[in-house]
Amino acid sequence: MLKTVRSPLRKVPGKAPTGIAGFDAITGGGLPRGRTTLLVGGAGSGKTVLALQFLAHGARACKEPGIFVAFEEPSERVVENAGSFGWKLEELQHRRLYFMDARPFPDVVQSGDFDLGGMLAALEAKTREIGARRIVFDALNNVLALLPGPAARKRELFRLHEWLVARELTGLITLQTGGDEAGTIGQEPSGFMQFMVDCVVILNHSVVQGVSQRNLRVQKYRGSGFDEDEAPFLIGSGGLDLAVARAPGRAGLKVTTERVSSGVERLDTMLGGGYYRGASVLITGSSGTAKTTLSGAFAEAACRRGERTLFFSFDSEYTEVIRNLASVGIRLDRYVKNGCLRIIPARTITGSAEVHLGRFKTLAREHSARCMVIDPVSSWSTSGNDSTAQGVAERLIDWAKSEGITLVCTKLLSGTSSPVQGGLPLQISTLADTWIHLNYLVQAGERNRGLSIVKSRGTAHSNQVRELILSDAGVTLADTYTAGGEVLMGTMRWEKESAERGAHEAAEVATKLKRVRLDAEEAELAVRLKALQVEIEAKQIEKALLARTTQTHKGELSQGRTRMHELRGSDAPKPGRRKP
């Protein structure tokens, strides 16, 4: 849906605030002051409530006393019915608020022409008396129906309008339309009135897929800009609560770089420090993928920091949430006891997405929550039609941001389909700042949980799939192994891990062994070196000995030869000397 981008509507002094925050926002300040507004809607569409709120706000906050002309119900009943809204009409009554019973007598007989002169005279007197500035005609059609024909109706409406304008009263006329739709508008008398008045507001109450849906639309506003779209609204404990995507003048949201822990240490690391404060986090996955556990971990971490936290559980009862999370080491009971955490089981609560959003807001305000978990958003967002649920999701995130509430939502994704292909009727995924997807990996007869970060705005984040391990000690993430293009988890991961551990040990032993062997070899060589050295020494000694011996021998030899020569007498032997 394409939304028109518009600069915030400027507040104009010529407007009478209604006290309905969203309404004053879309009309730029309220109803046209001193002019007449027509409020059209079917039975039970909230016309009277809106009108009363407008009067009560005027009387209390704007010093503008008011008159309520009741054509439909006795005034005591109107006051009584409004008692539940806490406007304290009784306090305001008589001095600042006046209720006029103006139901036509049922047995009245008509004969000839008549007009509203009596009523206007009475109102004139009362207006003077209390100094009224605002006036409501509730279900004017009841009295118009008495008038004999279209011409008379037109004349009386004109008279009424003239009277209001002349006294510069801010008038609000409510008209019933037949059926649930405001489709009958355009028929007389409202058709004529629409042209006469300065502002027309249409309330619509319809039922979409068994869920009640209320819408408000400003159809016309003379001399002022206004938001033309249908705005969903609720009738809550304080009256009308009109949903506007963003209140004008508050466009600049505070952006923070503060990080808050996700409750899982390694996940914080994967996210570069945790979620951003005020971010909206979406956790998707099929059932049993530990979405609740992950959001519980976040809640626990928030409470540990002492931040007030709200936990909406649409799946489980309060005690179940506590017990189930305690089984994985997330102990929330102590935080519930000290008032830090509030768990709201909402399984049995039905209603449109709009109603739920209203509840979130009210409870968050009551608890002054800084962190909030909605587990899961899927259940309530599907009640009612998709387009409105979409709008609600948008506003939920928008509201959480503007309040600085860190919001964690879980969402069921059917099957193990990829989150990107898997149909997300509620396009919360595009709005969320961080999207964590949990899935199962079935492999080797096991089902293991995998966690991946699909996106995380403004954050460097890990691209790796991690295994999510739940134990009674808490939630941890483990690295996964990829082998042959397949991610290994669970036992296979463990096997792989232990195999690696074994291999590592073996390698260590082998190294040790090698060193010992080398040492031995070294020692052996050293020994051999020593032996050789000894040998060398021996040889040297031997050599020295040899040299000496050789010399002696040589001397001896020469001496010996001489002697031998002498003995032989070969060289000039002396005669006479012969051997026998």
């Binding site: 006029m100 019973d101 103006a102 036509p104 007598f105 047995d107 009245v108 007989v109 008509q110 004969s111 000839g112 022409d113 008549f114 007009d115 509203l116 002169g117 009596g118 009523m119 005279a121 009475a122 004139e124 007197a125 009362k126 009295v143 008495l146």
Partner: protein, 96 residues
């Protein structure tokens, strides 16, 4: 035969508005014709006595209230159509 009941009327008018004047004239004529000497008419101008109009719950003018004999009846309009008026007042028998 008992004396016929005396009729007490109160007519709320809005100043000198045309409708109101017509109603006053029509009522006077009707009384003269059907209830001679047994009627009382009180005229209340809502502009002069708005409090009274408020208290009596008078929204539409002109309004004729028959206070007596009971039951009380309210008729709005100029009283131009005589038939429904006589019917409302329980005077059909006197109608021509």
């Amino acid at each position: 035969m008992s004396r016929p009941a005396r009729f007490r009327f109160r007519l709320y008018v809005a100043g000198d508005a045309l409708n109101s004047g017509l109603a006053h004239a029509n009522l006077t004529a009707l009384c003269r014709q059907y209830l001679p000497d047994r009627h009382e008419i009180e005229v209340v101008d809502v502009f002069r006595e708005p409090k009274r109009a408020l208290e009596d719950g008078i929204l539409l003018t002109p309004t004729l209230v028959k206070l007596a004999p009971s039951p009380t009846r309210r008729i709005v309009g100029t009283l131009g159509q005589i038939q429904p008026v006589l019917q409302a007042l329980g005077l059909e028998a006197l109608a021509p």
